[in-house]
Subunit: 420 residues, 4 copies
Amino acid sequence: MKEKDYAVKDIKLAKQGQERIEWARRHMPVLGKIKEEFEKAKPLKGVNVIACLHVTVETANLIEALIAGGANVALTASNPLSTQDDVAAALAKKGVKVYAIRGEDEKQYYENIESALKIKPNITLDDGADVIATVHSKHKEYLKSIYGGCEETTTGVIRLRAMAKDKALKYPVVAVNDAETKMMFDNRYGTGQSTLHGIINATNVLLAGKTVVVVGYGWCGRGCASRAKGMGSNVVVVEINARKALEAAMDGFQVMDMKEAAKVGDIFITVTGDIAVIRGEHFKLMKDQAIVCNSGHFNVELALDELKKMSKSVTTVKADVDEYLLKGGNRIYVLGEGRLVNLACAFGHPPEVMDMSFANQALCVKYIAENHKKLKNDVYKVPEEIDTRVAEMKLESMGIKLEKLTKEQEKYLSSWSMGT
Amino acid sequence: MKEKDYAVKDIKLAKQGQERIEWARRHMPVLGKIKEEFEKAKPLKGVNVIACLHVTVETANLIEALIAGGANVALTASNPLSTQDDVAAALAKKGVKVYAIRGEDEKQYYENIESALKIKPNITLDDGADVIATVHSKHKEYLKSIYGGCEETTTGVIRLRAMAKDKALKYPVVAVNDAETKMMFDNRYGTGQSTLHGIINATNVLLAGKTVVVVGYGWCGRGCASRAKGMGSNVVVVEINARKALEAAMDGFQVMDMKEAAKVGDIFITVTGDIAVIRGEHFKLMKDQAIVCNSGHFNVELALDELKKMSKSVTTVKADVDEYLLKGGNRIYVLGEGRLVNLACAFGHPPEVMDMSFANQALCVKYIAENHKKLKNDVYKVPEEIDTRVAEMKLESMGIKLEKLTKEQEKYLSSWSMGT
Amino acid sequence: MKEKDYAVKDIKLAKQGQERIEWARRHMPVLGKIKEEFEKAKPLKGVNVIACLHVTVETANLIEALIAGGANVALTASNPLSTQDDVAAALAKKGVKVYAIRGEDEKQYYENIESALKIKPNITLDDGADVIATVHSKHKEYLKSIYGGCEETTTGVIRLRAMAKDKALKYPVVAVNDAETKMMFDNRYGTGQSTLHGIINATNVLLAGKTVVVVGYGWCGRGCASRAKGMGSNVVVVEINARKALEAAMDGFQVMDMKEAAKVGDIFITVTGDIAVIRGEHFKLMKDQAIVCNSGHFNVELALDELKKMSKSVTTVKADVDEYLLKGGNRIYVLGEGRLVNLACAFGHPPEVMDMSFANQALCVKYIAENHKKLKNDVYKVPEEIDTRVAEMKLESMGIKLEKLTKEQEKYLSSWSMGT
Amino acid sequence: MKEKDYAVKDIKLAKQGQERIEWARRHMPVLGKIKEEFEKAKPLKGVNVIACLHVTVETANLIEALIAGGANVALTASNPLSTQDDVAAALAKKGVKVYAIRGEDEKQYYENIESALKIKPNITLDDGADVIATVHSKHKEYLKSIYGGCEETTTGVIRLRAMAKDKALKYPVVAVNDAETKMMFDNRYGTGQSTLHGIINATNVLLAGKTVVVVGYGWCGRGCASRAKGMGSNVVVVEINARKALEAAMDGFQVMDMKEAAKVGDIFITVTGDIAVIRGEHFKLMKDQAIVCNSGHFNVELALDELKKMSKSVTTVKADVDEYLLKGGNRIYVLGEGRLVNLACAFGHPPEVMDMSFANQALCVKYIAENHKKLKNDVYKVPEEIDTRVAEMKLESMGIKLEKLTKEQEKYLSSWSMGT
């Protein structure tokens, strides 16, 4: 390995990181099977991949699968607070070009992306579209060698669709986020469990008996609301979309606008993909000791600048908990500096859901490598057959049997002449 | 009124029917508001409509809204067992051409459709596509005056898509079923509650502690499974689709194939839109006293002919419950002759969900009347603005406030240049 | 049979009643087994029993078990609105002395109790303590032949404890209500399901999306709250007891006082055993179209006299629904005249729970017959061994296997010297 | 401070511990109020207290309340793996005699109890009855100065009842565990949340879609089962008690004996208070990669000695996870060495429930100090007025309003003459 080929916190953490990576592997059987296939067929031979993802044990398993397929990989963090330093160390030790340190500042963050870009990527993997944004703005020199990219998260897909609409997108991107086996599982069950885990880790408060306000009722919000209810909380939902608001109401939740919700909540979780959804006008209505966190991709959902201006002091009262003391005397606790609480205060999604998300990623990387010449500069859905295959492999790993259509049933479903 | 302008069980039931129609109206505020608008604007003036729908109190309110809009309406049943005779009487008494008698046989059923067709329809409303099928096969003479149609149910839409694919569809049809404000509410919350209501009405068994097998995990199946869980049942799901099976498993249900499920279930509910999903090979594995019913549109989901062949005797042990005594001695109870249990043994969907479904219907009838010249012979989605408007009207009637986007948020969501 | 040996609505309903009794029997395996034992051993030979119970299909099965054991039984209703006339007819036809007509007035109600008392009871079975109250006040002549009694319901047990405390109780009573296999199952799962069934039967409203206020969080209230949540309602609990209120809050419900709850509820259910828990001061705060019902034993929980005084008119808008039109214009719907909604508007508890409750009753009748000489004039618990035996028989009938203690475990549990 | 007046891991952890203790204090308002009262009234002036409790942030707040009341306190751990070393350091720094180091061996554990006993206790606080057992067996010299004791946990109360039955108990003990405001909240909501937290911390597995076997359906088991269901697991319950098994079934869980459950579980949790509930005969039936943990007080519920004998190797694959590789090739993962997973792998109960449990403790210590002369050598219930007062203070701190009885209602509830 050449000098300066990685930037990690402490290479000595490699052993612990490796242990944890292997533990996660035990719960990622689908990705494991794909890795085996990749090892034989080498579909990514010579392909350079830049991955800008949360540097977690699950990501490490994706990276290993891509390498098994023949790829050269550079890895950088998709969020300054989500890097697990032991995992970064373990990957670096094995020779992966990793540039990721938990708690790095914004300058470092973008420098790390630039370091990773030196791999001259053919394929970009994003979780929040930061690499795509970088090569489209500051580093257009890399555009010409790029076949295509994958985007992992809702927030990123929103960004990319806006780019495609403006004809600003310069290479094809597969919206891995939108695969059913990703979105419906990772965003819902993964975010639901890991968001609550982050809140409990940071605060150890009892969820039973608390009023939890979930802002946003997309798949992530549905997951958070459903799990909070399952833990004994009284859940309030805030939405801007009429049909989602109606669904939340029918699911048994109270639905309010943000101002009303601000008054009744004990714990607030934002999962909207939008900016400043909880603002000064809301913070000032909150109860003393309200707990506020964000589980959306970017740390812009909470208007912490406004909160800071309203406060006499800001104190870190324990790890991951900042107390904002308002001028009127109320205290508001912000978790993980408003960054996604499931990664800042917990381990991110459980391996079982990342197994599906990253199985989609791995198969989509292969798909781009094999089909990029046919693709236009647009946002693509994950091919149906990939999505279905991931589901089938997952079910098999869980020992679940599907019912099969009989001949008669197949015929019935495709015919229209049989009557009442 | 001319003679023979209706066919109902007993016109003397009109008063009770009218009372019940008015009761339902109290819980259908969105349709009520549309009716008011129709009364003023008369958008259906002179339009002939044939409606082949479940003849229930909610349908009566739709019919009244259409008439308020200026339409001439003939109504016939979409299922021989779902007619509420008092409702049919009340409508007949007011001059609506109603041809529907609960328990009519198949011959009568189709004769009634033919009677209703004499109105020379411009627009057809279907719940299971029987009118569309009739005018496409036996009564093509009516095709030329038809502008278009609406289809209310999943099963019908499957049929129509198959027809459109075969180029056999001769006029445009709006798949009202697929409106979000229909499918996600009526199919899920409506079917969920009313299916359990039908089962309890027919049997009065305690759901807590029972193993309930739900066959099919579409919106109807999700509704049944979720409500059965909510009543304390242990729920098993059977699916043919890998992604839905996975979702069911993640929702905490046991997922099995039909053979395994047959052995463990106390109560079986089919909601697949498919044929013969529970067959002889499954009935023979069931526990003594298993209860079996169907909540899918057609009475083909249970292979009752096979069950009958396996049985020593079939006895109606109480209203809506047939006991099939198998040769080995086990008893299987079939509810409502395998017809949709929520209409055969209960009142069908609650008015609140039909409020949304029929608000979509009413607005789609208006849409067809106004736009039919622009439409092709294909299956159309409900226009987005209709779907959203229904949701907004419903929320307003429930006193629920939506959060509104700020200027900054709108800008953020449509931009792609803001970073981490 | 002598003339005038029964008073039922219509003896011709006997066939339908018999069918339904037999249907219920299929779901009462524990009582069935006890009946078999009674048939052989005749433990009640020559014992006269007066039963003042809800005259339902399940009660009919209890009566048949007692008769199988050798008892002479007279049956009267424990609530004027809960009698199922077809069941009364079926029992009368078989020669049981039944005096019960649905909708009888208060005078008839007490006359029927007096007719039944002519059997000169040795044992009294009550559901609300009306027979006990009658023989302690107006008909003390029967006291001397009475061995003891059983009381089925919370409300009755409260009454009897008050009597015992005042030394007013003149014979021993077993509080069957307090058996774990009664109270925790019948009051919770039975009342929960059947109360919602009654509300849906009367109104067909969609429970999902509604705010349901449950007044009282005893076992009945817990059942109603849990099932309403399971049907998608947002549930509010009102309590007077601090520990129960806390439990409700920890179970995820909103907890309020009655005045606050009155403002937010769509549907109100009282299950307190107390008087006038919803009063004029609350009715006047309710939303237009609020639905109000009672599932506690007596029809005193709703202060309907106060509501009537506040109203311009009271109209029965459909069967089981009275509309009170308040002077301000709001409408309040009262179900089943404020009598217990699960019996007035539905079938009462499912047979599976009555199987356990009445298995306790049957075994307690036997217990009193055999042990009455040893008992004092006090309220007794159901003997532990009866309670346990009922649970074990029920589990066996459900095919559920208990884990068994090993020798080592038995020793461990009774020892105190083994350490950390 | 004299030398050797504490034994903690690292006194330098005091600052972090103090921060965390203060964080917990924010969520313990009831104990906070009692501390204020104690500060004024000094009800424990000169009373020596030995506390053998889990050394957590919540316990630290109890200790501070007792000291505020005038007590001299020595603190030792009630479990070798549950001590939070930073908390021990913070208390030591303030002058409390603390003897507790996470991971101490059994010898150290009992030596620490002996060190703490040197305070010559008047009152003993136990969580598992280890101090009581010690002074009754090896250190009877302390018995004469002891007024009484408190016991915090189910397991300890079982032990003490056995001692009392054998007339072996030499001073009065209050079963704090049995307070409603302790048992129903701490054991259910506290154990439920913290057990799952421990499992997620140790493994990060997704609970949704897993089969979780809960062994024991007491309050702790109910809590674990309910929360696992709320997280999307399919839950199986194992019980020895017929009535609890029946309740579990009615709550919608599958109920099996241990042998059947062993075959289907992905995750096993024991909460029985009994010994060897999962044994070799069960481990050998488990699926590959089954996860096994204990949340009962003592680490005897899993027969790890038998498991070890069946294994080719035992490897710690990551912190808190031991992999037992069976001879047949299956892997079984044991969490936290079989010690209570919510303390070994998480923070123990949330402060909100310990607020109630320790409010009971503090008030019972005061009660014993004031009333010990009247008490016999028996196990006492927490006085009703303490239990109720804790509930009322808690509700007040949560801003929840109780409904109040009217005069009419009070009269009604105490009378027995009002009729149907």
